[in-house]
Structure formats: structure tokens, C-alpha cells
Subunit: 147 residues, 2 copies
């Protein structure tokens, strides 16, 4: 089980917009080229990022741009925008516990709050990481390559 690749694609896209904004007109096709995915999946991710207020989309020369600085976007914001985890939560509860068994009809309730806290721990960690860090590290890696 893994969290949808839309999440890492979204991060990749944001890093690209930041990196290329003053050299190229950034379009969905351009991004799809860097990501290595079909332009349509990129456009869908773009749509989610736009709805979340992270990017602006123009068909003109300005292309796709950041709507706010990467320092104000955390991994959690992206995770949230991509709907990485369903309404039901990170953990899949088995569907048919037997209500005529005392354990069966109570175990769900007993686990729920604890599993929520586990999910929350992950989400809190995501909030501590900004896209700015990632973009900056990426830039450093690229500069490092020159040697």
C-alpha cells in the first residue's frame, strides 16, 4: 500500500515551476516532460494545486506560476490538496466485524481514536517540511553536479 504518486508529482511540479520560472514558459507539457508522465495527469494535479491556491494558471507567455512563495507551502498542504488519504482514514478497517460477538462489536470503537492519533502524527510531520527546503536542496544538488 502506498500513498498516491500524485503527491510526489505535485511536489516535483512545484519545484519545477520555481526552478524554471525565469527561463521558460512553464506549461503542462513542459512539466509532463520533466515528470515523465502524461500531460493529463499533470493537468489534473495542476487543477488541484490551483484549487488549493498554490499556483496560478495562464495560457499566455507567463505560463504556470506560483501563487504564493514555497516557504509558505508545506508538504501537508500538498498532501491535503491531493486527497492522499480517504475520508475513512489511513487504516483500512475490516468491513464486517460480527456484532453478536462482544469483541467484534466494540473493537472498532476501541481502535479508532488511536489510529487517528497515528495518522495525525504523520500529518504533523508533513507540516514541518516546506517546499522551499526541498526546492533549495534541489538547487544545491544541481549546482553540485557541475563539479
Amino acid at each position: 500500500m502506498q500513498i498516491t504518486s500524485k503527491f510526489t508529482i505535485a511536489v516535483h511540479i512545484l519545484a519545477c515551476i520555481e526552478y524554471f520560472h525565469d527561463q521558460e514558459t512553464v506549461t503542462s507539457s513542459f512539466l509532463a516532460g520533466s515528470v515523465g508522465a502524461n500531460p493529463v495527469v499533470v493537468r489534473n494535479v495542476m487543477g488541484d494545486l490551483k484549487n488549493a491556491g498554490m499556483i496560478r494558471i495562464s495560457q499566455g507567455k507567463s505560463g504556470i506560476t506560483l501563487a504564493r512563495p514555497l516557504s509558505e507551502i508545506t508538504l501537508y498542504d500538498v498532501y491535503d490538496a491531493m486527497d492522499c488519504v480517504s475520508e475513512a482514514g489511513l487504516f483500512h478497517f475490516h468491513e464486517n466485524p460480527n456484532a453478536s460477538c462482544p469483541v467484534g462489536r466494540n473493537i472498532h470503537k476501541t481502535m479508532d481514536s488511536r489510529l487517528e492519533s497515528v495518522q495525525k502524527a504523520m500529518e504533523e510531520e508533513l507540516k514541518h517540511i516546506t517546499l522551499a527546503e526541498i526546492a533549495e536542496d534541489t538547487r544545491k544538488e544541481i549546482l553540485g553536479e557541475a563539479k
Copy 2:
């Protein structure tokens, strides 16, 4: 995306073994009845729990028993035994970032350590919760029902 229901099934099973061990002979069919799943999935989960040293399996009157007290089993132990998350990690990285794009060939490296720390935060939280807590709360809920 959700973590396999084998995880909650395993917790349910452990709670059942604890709850019923002095009233019933606990078998895979009995457990399957409480869980509401096919006996084969229960047996597979049982196999994993046995390999992890949490339960003992007998075909006789003793049935399935705990191999160590629930206070010494954490949700992480169960999570680990069920192989809830693949080798590749919790986050699915998109497969084909373009190596001829500077961002494309560096973004993976840049994200990896951070995503690992996020996954680790979740796993640490799992380590803080014991099966004993859950079994105890379940017992309390059951007693509460009597009113």
C-alpha cells in the same frame, strides 16, 4: 489509499484470543466468525502473528494462545508483522522522472530523507500503543454495555 485491513484484523484477533482464552477453544473458524472474514484470511494473519512470536497455534483443546502478554505487543509489532508498507516506503514515488531535466534527476534524492522521516513519525506513534490498552478498553466497553 489505505493500509491493509490485515492490520486491524490482526489486532481484532489478538483481542479475541485474550478475551476468550478461558471460555472457548479459539480456532481460526471461531476467529473468522468474530472478524467477519473468510477463515483463510484469518489463518494467513495467524501465520504472520506466529512467525512474529506473538501467538502459539495448537490444533488441540488449547487452541490458539498468546505467546507473550499483550502489554509486550505494540501496534508497531503488528504493523511490522503484517508488512503493511512495502519496501519502497509509504509514499509512492512517480516512476519516470526525466533524467535530462535537472529537477527531474534530483527531486527524488531531495525528497527521500524527508518522506522517510514522515513515515518514521507514524511508526513511532504506533510503538507507543500497546495491545493491552486496546484489549482493556474493549473489555471496559463490553462491561459498559451491561447497563
